[in-house]
Every structure is written in C-alpha cells, then in structure tokens.
Amino acid sequence: MKTIKIATDYSETPLGRYPADGDFNGTRFRDDFLRPALGAGEVVVVDIDDVEGYGSSFLDEAFGGLVREGYFDAKDLEKRLKIKCEDPDYAIYCDLIWKYIREAKPRKAV
C-alpha cells in the first residue's frame, strides 16, 4: 500500500487544472503521483487533509481525469484508491473526488 499526502508530498496550495494554471495543478498531480502509484498495481491511499482548500477544477482533473483520459476505470479505482480525510471539514472534498470519478466518461480515441 502506498500513501500520498497531498499537503506534504505535493503542495499545501494545489491550484488549477492544467500546467499553464500553476506549478501545483491537477494534471501534474495525476501524472506524476497518482498514475505511477496506481500503475504499480497496489492500493493507493491519498490523504487530503491539511491543504488550505481545493478547487473542484483541481480535483476533477486529478481524479476524474484518471478515468476521462482512459488510464483507469471507475470500478478499478473504487477497489484500489482510498481517500483519507480525518478532518471532517475535508469530507466534502472526498465526496467531490468520488463524484468526479463516477461521472467521468472516457474520451473516445480519435
């Protein structure tokens, strides 16, 4: 099992969707942290506590993007991705993450 704590391993102020939006954007978190960890086939725990706040755009790109870009499917993520939030103030972000994962539709290959 691998644990990624966003506040310490990535940034306390993650922001934006694409690389042009800032250094700590959702695309970079997905490609540099989530994909390699999930690609190794193990259970990945993402600790979302202690960040100043999340924009839905960041969460959608980082987590929903895993399905949208065709890297994983939602059922696989439900089995292997655990979102950890001990602070009840962050529960809303946990709900948002799963909403984006479940609602994401894989892009059709061109």
Binding site: R17, D21, G53, S56, S57, I92, L96
Partner: protein
C-alpha cells in the same frame, strides 16, 4: 431576628433560602439549554444566508470576468475568497445541522455549490467569462438557502 445576625442566624437563613436559590440555578440552566436555542437558530440561519449571499456575489463576479495577464491578481483574490467561503460554509452548515436539524444533510447540497463555484475553468491562467456558470451558481446556492429558510417558516 434583628441585625447584626449571629453566625447561627446566618446559617439558619442560608438553610432557609438555599432550596429557592438552587431552583433558580437549575431553572436557569434548563432555560439556557432549551428555550435559548429557539431564538439562536434563526440568527444562525441569517448568518449562514449572509455568507451564502456573499459567496454568490463573489462567484458571480469571478465568472463574469475574463481572466488574463491584466487582471490575474484580482482573479486569484476572488478564487481564494470563493474557495475559502465554500470550505468554511460547509463546516458551519455541518455545525448547524448537528445542533438544530440532525435529519438534514447539507453535504450533498454543498458538493453541488462547490462544483458550481469552483469547477470548470476555475483557477485557469486565462479564460473568457463564463455566463453559463451563473445559473449553476445561483441555483445551487438557492437550494441551500431554501433548505435553511424552511427552518424559519
């Protein structure tokens, strides 16, 4: 009895009045714990609605502006305000729900608010004004306000 009282007279007086004093204290505690909650609930609702109105104004202002190099600072300021407001209002709503209406779960409503206010091209380096988001913001916030207002009717 005439003043000044002796020690025994003082003790006798205290023994005489202590049941009444105790009753007033217990009554005060019961009043504070129960009846006092009634007038504080509408005030809490007003406070939450004021916060939701401010969030709506900031979110509408943010989604009405084109974001480019010229006004990026203002956009960043509004982004922080909107993100912070969503987080704090969610906590306050949870507190309200736990204290006054345990059956109502505001979390799904606040998920919609967060999605409407901070989804899409939120925090993009450049983007055009997004009129389509206005309705999402207004409707999602209105649903929370209405759920609160029902407690006041």
């Amino acid at each position: 009895m005439s003043f000044p009282w002796t020690g025994d007279e003082c003790l006798s007086y205290l023994r005489h009045v202590s049941p009444q004093v105790l009753a007033v204290i217990i009554g005060g505690v019961i009043f504070q714990r129960t009846l006092w909650l009634v007038p504080t609930s509408p005030r809490f609702i007003d406070y939450l609605i004021k916060g939701l109105d401010e969030l709506r104004c900031d979110a509408l202002e943010y989604w009405s502006m084109d974001v480019n190099a010229k006004n990026r600072d203002k956009a960043r300021f509004l982004e922080a305000k909107v993100k912070g407001a969503v987080k704090s209002l969610t906590s306050e709503m949870k507190c309200f729900s736990q204290k006054y209406c345990r059956k109502t779960d505001f979390a799904p409503l606040m998920v919609e608010v967060s999605d409407a206010c901070t989804g899409g091209a939120f925090e993009s380096a450049t983007r055009n004004a997004d009129g389509g988001r206005h309705l999402m913001v207004v409707n999602s916030i209105h649903r929370v306000k209405w759920e609160l207002m029902k407690r006041k009717l």
